[in-house]
């Protein structure tokens, strides 16, 4: 039996173009809508500044008693604070909202609609909800990193470029982590508290990973690559990590992406097999 080619109406454009269009439309639509709520911008700015002030106060407090912390000097630690703030903004703006929506949809059986669309379901569920205002944190965090690095002798331009790559890797790692956890909702129904658990863990990323005891370091690097996501960019910028470390992180991220994809597909398969 022959298959019926699609009508000329749908899928009028090649896969690649469509995929890009989907990303652009999803991002554009959510962003434009949220931009209407200007008051949220001021709330977020206020929140970001308070969070930043708290972080600085903690760092200042620590350095009242010691000149360096595990080899990190005050301005170097501020780089960690900046990266942590910026990545936190990316998480709360781009990653977490869609993942929470996905969790709800899996629980309520509404994922059906994402699975009956002629586009990659992972792409669709990962970009469905974007909140723009937490991006203020990205700007604030980036500002902190810039200010701090002008006061660090070891900061170089190649180091900064490596740090940029590491930040991107970090964002991808955290996305994967979130998707893996969320995919767990296919089997475990009650996953609502995962966001709080994650945010709690993310707080640990405020400190350079080297400060933790060995077993925690391992946990935060391999199992929950949170600290790795924050520390590596800071290490790259302050000349502690070089090309080799960032290369290693690239491989690790690639493996994580592949695993996440596999795990997601497994989840979808089990969803299709079990839902009534």
């Amino acid at each position: 039996m022959t298959t019926t080619p699609p009508s000329t109406h749908g899928l009028a454009r090649p896969e690649q173009v469509r995929r890009r269009d989907v990303v652009r439309t999803l991002v554009g639509v959510s962003a434009l809508n949220e931009l209407q709520y200007r008051v949220n911008f001021f709330l977020q700015l206020f929140q970001s500044l308070v969070a930043l002030a708290t972080a600085i106060a903690v760092v200042a407090l620590v350095f009242l008693y010691t000149p360096t912390l595990g080899g990190w000097e005050p301005w170097e630690l501020m780089v960690v604070v900046g990266v942590h703030t910026a990545l936190g903004g990316v998480i709360r703006s781009v990653i977490q909202p869609s993942m929470q929506l996905l969790m709800e949809d899996i629980r309520e059986g509404k994922l059906d609609f994402a699975l009956t669309k002629p586009v990659d379901a992972q792409l669709l569920v990962s970009l469905r909800r974007i909140t723009v205002w937490p991006l203020v944190d990205v700007v604030v965090g980036f500002g902190v990193v810039v200010v701090a690095s002008t006061r660090i002798d070891s900061a170089t331009v190649p180091g900064a470029l490596l740090a940029l790559v590491a930040v991107l890797l970090g964002a991808v790692m955290i996305y994967c982590l979130w998707l893996v956890i969320t995919t767990g909702a296919f089997w475990i129904v009650r996953m609502e508290h995962v966001a709080e658990l994650f945010n709690g863990l993310y707080q640990a990323g405020r400190w350079p990973i080297g400060l933790f005891p060995g077993w925690l370091r391992l946990l935060f690097t391999v199992l929950v690559p949170l600290a790795l996501a924050v520390t590596l960019p800071s290490e790259a910028l302050t000349g502690r990590a070089g090309l080799l470390a960032v290369g290693g992180a690239t491989l690790f991220t690639a493996a994580l992406v592949a695993f996440t994809r596999w795990f997601w597909r497994l989840g979808v398969k089990s969803y299709a097999g079990a839902s009534a």
Partner: protein
């Protein structure tokens, strides 16, 4: 659309009530197989509108999910537009739509038009085509004033119309509609019905419709497929459903002189002044009618099948024994 021996079996954990059983199930979980759908076969021609009937839990939604690619059949085979649905081929998905009356797929916080825009991107519809179809559908459904509102501000009926509009922007060839009018008032049901008939006529789309409102089915579908306990019970014209399952007919007589006892002719169902409604067995209907005409010289007499709702009720009351199911073999296409 061809379905042969389609079946879906779920494996569900079972345990008895009580703490002891709960603890036991933690260690060793027992499973029971539930045959949601078994050995279902039918085929539907392109452009046909078919009513898919069955009581709650009959396996309607499971079947629709298998046909739209959401569920992997446990046995048998389904082919829709030449594709095997569970493979979820993009070319297949671009030509179908699944609408579920109790779930919404538009973005809750966004204006309706933005959700439409997302569908445009997802289905890769060329801009001019998209705009033409969108405006046409908005016009047909009369939702022009609603589309700029966020979905959460719409009433149930308005939302359903917006849902249907959004699901048809890519002009699907096959529509799976699961209770599209559930919870809507009569006017709204009617409007959606008219729209579906119009869409079917305009684009020659195949429609498979489940509904608890028989009015939807009688208005739209000449043919019905009835399933019960996951098995095919009837497949054929809606008009013959009564013949197969209904053992009685309804005779309405308007008497020249009221207040006469007609219980001797059949079961008196209703008396409204001079108008009496009787239920008699199918086989005797014409004899009883002749006797009534001869004995009473009524001013009016009608013989009808009982209301379709009653017929359906009777169909579903059919006991679940293999021998009692009467698949007709009346499969077309």
């Amino acid at each position: 659309m061809d379905v042969t021996g389609l079946g879906k079996t779920y494996k569900v954990p079972v345990r008895e009530a009580g703490l002891k059983a709960a603890l036991k199930s933690l260690v060793r979980r027992e499973h029971r197989e539930v045959h949601a759908v078994s050995d279902l076969s039918f085929s539907i021609e392109r452009g046909e509108m078919v009513g898919f009937l069955g009581p709650n839990g009959a396996g309607k939604t499971t079947t629709l999910k298998m046909l739209s690619g959401l569920l992997h059949p446990s046995s048998g085979q389904a082919r829709v537009l030449g594709y095997e649905p569970y493979r979820r081929d993009r070319n297949f998905l671009a030509q179908i739509t699944l609408v579920m009356g109790n779930r919404n797929q538009l973005q809750w916080d966004l204006p309706v038009v933005d959700s439409f825009e997302m569908n445009r991107a997802i289905f890769g519809i060329a801009r001019p085509d998209f705009e033409a179809t969108r405006d046409e559908l908005i016009d047909l459904l009369e939702i022009g004033h609603l589309v700029t509102k966020p979905v959460r501000n719409l009433s149930l009926g308005e939302r359903m119309k917006a849902e249907i509009c959004g699901s048809l922007l890519h002009r699907p060839q096959v529509l799976f509609l699961d209770e599209p009018t559930i919870g809507l008032d009569v006017t709204m049901q009617k409007r959606i019905r008219t729209f579906l008939a119009e869409y079917n006529a305009r684009y020659g789309a195949t429609v498979m419709l489940t509904s608890h409102y028989m009015a939807d089915v009688t208005a739209l579908c000449k043919r019905v497929i009835v399933i019960h306990h996951g098995k095919l019970l009837y497949d054929g014209p809606l008009s013959e459903l009564a013949e197969r399952f209904e053992t009685s007919k309804t005779i309405g007589v308007t008497l020249a002189e009221p207040d006469r006892d007609l219980s001797g002719y059949g079961e008196v169902v209703a008396v409204d002044g001079a108008r009496v409604t009787l239920r008699v067995s199918r086989a005797e209907a014409s004899t009883v009618a002749a006797r009534l005409l001869a004995d009473l010289q009524p001013t009016d007499l009608t013989i009808e099948d009982p209301p379709i709702d009653d017929v359906i009720e009777r169909v579903f009351a059919t006991p679940d024994e293999p021998g009692s199911a009467q698949p007709t073999g009346k499969q077309r296409g």
